[in-house]
Amino acid sequence: MDVTLVLLALFSTVGLVFTYLAISERDLVRAIIYSAVQSSAYAVLLYLLRAPDIVLVYLPVAVGLYPAALLFLVGKTEKVDGG
């Protein structure tokens, strides 16, 4: 019984929950924060899948650069997802 498989299932479920929260949230800043948490869960998932090169790309890109660029976009335009 490998601990890796239990942790794989756990972190993919965390990613699923935060994806649903990010898509259904009206306030855009909170949606960006939820998607950053989901990306952190996926970074742990990628480490458990024995892919250290991908973790080194994924961590700055999905946790640092995407939320930063999206927050610049949301700060200059509308902050609420209407409807």
């Binding site: 019984m1 490998d2 890796t4 498989l5 239990v6 794989l8 299932a9 993919s12 479920t13 990613g15 699923l16 994806t19 649903y20 990010a22 898509i23 855009l28 949606a31 960006i32 998607s35 989901q38 990306s39 996926y42 998932l45 990628l46 899948l49 024995r50 892919a51 250290p52 090169d53 991908i54 790309v57 994924y58 890109v61 999905a62 650069l65 995407y66 660029a69 999206l70 610049f72 976009l73 949301v74 200059k76 335009t77 509308e78 609420v80 997802d81 209407g82 409807g83």
Partner: protein, 127 residues
């Protein structure tokens, strides 16, 4: 080497979680009206499909595909995960990043021209 039922259940559960995440993000692209929310959902879709591609090359009881000083070659080949999906996903992440950054710039320009990011109002305002 066969997997026990519990191990196979956990692997299948991870696979289903990735597929359902992709499904929820496709719903988010189609059904939410704000352009910024569509871009967020597009990044989540790309991430979940890339993780799915790496999950294909996974094998239980394995080591990363890096040859260390003390490992011998046949032991390494018999125990490491598949390096080819990792190389392809590296390319895919960078291309997805380029496309998403360009979409963010386009969304900024749409806001400057139409005054709103809501696609229902843009449809009425066109022209």
């Amino acid at each position: 080497m066969a997997l026990s039922t519990l191990e196979r259940f956990l692997l299948t559960l991870t696979l289903y979680n990735l597929l359902v995440t992709a499904a929820i993000s496709i719903y988010g692209i189609v059904a939410r009206p704000s352009l910024a929310k569509k871009i967020i959902a597009l990044t989540i879709l790309g991430d979940s499909l890339n993780v799915l591609a790496i999950f294909i090359g996974f094998r239980v009881f394995s080591i990363p595909p890096v040859l260390t000083a003390e490992a011998e070659l046949s032991y390494f080949v018999g125990l490491a995960v598949d390096p080819l999906p990792q190389a392809l996903v590296l390319t895919a992440i960078v291309i997805g990043l380029a496309v998403n950054l360009f979409l963010i710039f386009l969304a900024l320009q749409v806001y400057r021209l139409y005054g709103t990011l809501d696609t229902r109002r843009i449809r009425e305002l066109r022209g």
